[in-house]
Amino acid sequence: MAKNPQTPLSRTSRLLDLVPYLTSHQGIDLNILAQDFSVSSSQMVADLTTLWMCGLPGYTPLELMDLSFDSGYVTIHNADTLARPRNLTIEEAIALLLGLDLVVQSLPQDREDLKEIAQGLIDRLSRLANLPSRIRIEPNINESIRTLITSAISKKQAVKIQYHSLYSDEVTKRNIHPLEFRVDGAHEYLWAYCEKVAGFRSFRVDRVLDATISGPRVELIQSSASKAADPITYSLEVFSRFRDVAERFALDEMGKGSQSRGTSYSSQWLLRCVMASAGAVKLTSPQEIRSHIAATASGLLDRYKAG
């Protein structure tokens, strides 16, 4: 389906798809029909008016499609040639294939029967689209945890989670009151009130290791007053592995061999990023973190030399 619903090609495409849809939904409400096709009602009337003029060569009432929609309900007759739905486009097939791959992984363990049916659909669609198992989706999010949290949000329930904090490298148990999922770049976050820190936090969904429903959600007013500490401003000198460094530190603009500046709320994050850059960057400031890095690295070096 083209982005602009008004271009001749996207209208033609829609009209061709309208015929089989109407054939199987005789008497459908015109407004609902418009919604199903994601167009305005007036656009739908224009489409139906155009379709009314089409049919088999001859174009007498005998050959033209017989459409009626004056009453606000739409019926179609004499449209046998176009009555079967059109084949899927490649994009449509790919969308369904990737979606099905994810559905298979989201189904509970004890529903092997459904997994088998979904896999059968994948095989049929792959053949149809000439894409024998060429696309794979591997969520790094545990879909059963996601399903549980989604249901908790809609039922207004609190959830007990085990969460891996990456920078402090600790797994903690927290009781949280989830409000919504948010997406930032490649990652998905859960926005929730956390009892442990008595405030709102966002949690990376792929770092939620376990989740269970723990009771009803407490209604909380989201306060915008955050108790966030002041950010740390740091500067770096980059020597090599420029793409790795730019991605790790999330630097937007970086020339080669250049000085870069950034800010962070976590000194642990900064320390770990500089260490993990394995000598490709030098932290020039702040001095305390720089000294800390030197001490950590030389302590480790001594251990390796000893052992």
Partner: protein
């Protein structure tokens, strides 16, 4: 504009309804909307054929019948035009609906919704009650999907600018084989036509426009190609033995093959594929991990630590 749309629909109906090939002469004489000089009609028809092909409608050319003249004929085969998934059940429709809903708000949302409309046109009610309530969701902002998937399906090459490890922008041309996600990133794999070997590319490292090759069917995809395998075999698979402080380094523990309790520490074995990435991971964990073996990993870590001390001391 309506005239053009009517003509395209009428042409589709005529070519679908015919049992034999229709010549251009017959089409111009019978299908409504072809007007003007012979040359105008000719041009109209050529454009209409292209438009229908762009909508994914295959027009067959053939039927050189010597009894008439040597003119080519046209028709649309009904089995290619229409969707044939065989018998489909309410449960299957429900699963397909879930698959389409997973795209809500993401890259292939509109393709998924139009696919769903076609499935619903088969007139089978979705049997949602027999499916547990799950809500899978795909979160992909990339919009390059459509062009990439078309290239794979039609076996066309792709050219694009790619951010190299040294932040240079390089132009790459590949025969695309497959796409996949891993750890939240999307990857495209294929034969790099300049380097003459199979490479994988991360979609978020593409710069600017992707160009699709003009010719279809220019290559074959090896039937045993598995993208997940090619993502994970940059180098040979090795196993490291590493001491990890109790309660620490969960990232590393998650891929552990074995764990031995040493008291304050655990001795774990973990597989790794890429030496540089493994060094990074070891260093990320600071003094909570200590490499025992293999020797070359240990030496690389020591060399990196020496550099870090030099730079920051």
């Amino acid at each position: 504009m309506s005239r053009k749309i009517e003509r395209l629909i009428n042409l589709t109906i005529a070519l679908l309804a015919t049992k034999r090939f229709l010549t251009k002469k017959e089409i111009f004489a019978s299908v409504d909307g072809y007007e003007g000089s012979a040359e105008t009609k000719e041009r109209m028809f050529e454009r209409d054929k292209d438009d229908l092909r762009n909508l994914g409608i295959d027009i067959d050319v053939g039927g050189f019948d010597p009894a008439f003249d040597d003119e080519a004929g046209y028709r649309i085969k009904s089995d290619k035009y229409s969707l044939d998934l065989g018998d489909i059940s309410g449960v299957e429709i429900a699963l397909l609906s879930l698959a389409a809903e997973a795209w809500r708000g993401a890259a292939l949302d509109s393709a998924a919704q139009s696919a769903l409309l076609k499935l619903k046109s088969m007139g089978i009610d979705s049997d949602l009650d027999s499916i547990p309530s799950i809500s899978p969701a795909i979160r992909t902002p990339h919009t390059d999907f459509e062009i990439i998937s078309r290239a794979i399906s039609q076996r066309r090459t792709l050219s694009f600018s790619y951010l190299s490890k040294q932040l240079d922008i390089q132009t790459r041309t590949i025969a695309p084989y497959a796409i996949a996600t891993q750890q939240s990133f999307w990857y495209l794999a294929g034969m790099d036509l300049d380097k003459e070997s199979i490479r994988t590319f991360r979609l978020d490292r593409f710069q600017g426009e992707i160009t699709i090759g003009k010719e279809a069917n220019t290559f074959e995809i090896p039937t045993d190609f598995d993208i997940l395998k090619s993502l994970n075999t940059d180098a040979s698979n090795e196993i490291a033995t590493i001491d990890i402080r109790k309660g620490k380094a969960h990232l590393m523990r998650s891929s552990a093959l074995s764990v031995t309790d040493l008291g304050e520490w655990d001795r774990v074995t973990v597989p790794f594929f890429d030496l540089a990435k493994m060094v990074d991971l070891v260093l990320w964990h600071g003094d909570d991990v200590f490499v025992i073996s293999p020797e070359h990993l240990r030496n690389s870590v020591i060399a990196a630590l020496a550099t870090i001390v030099d730079l920051h001391g």
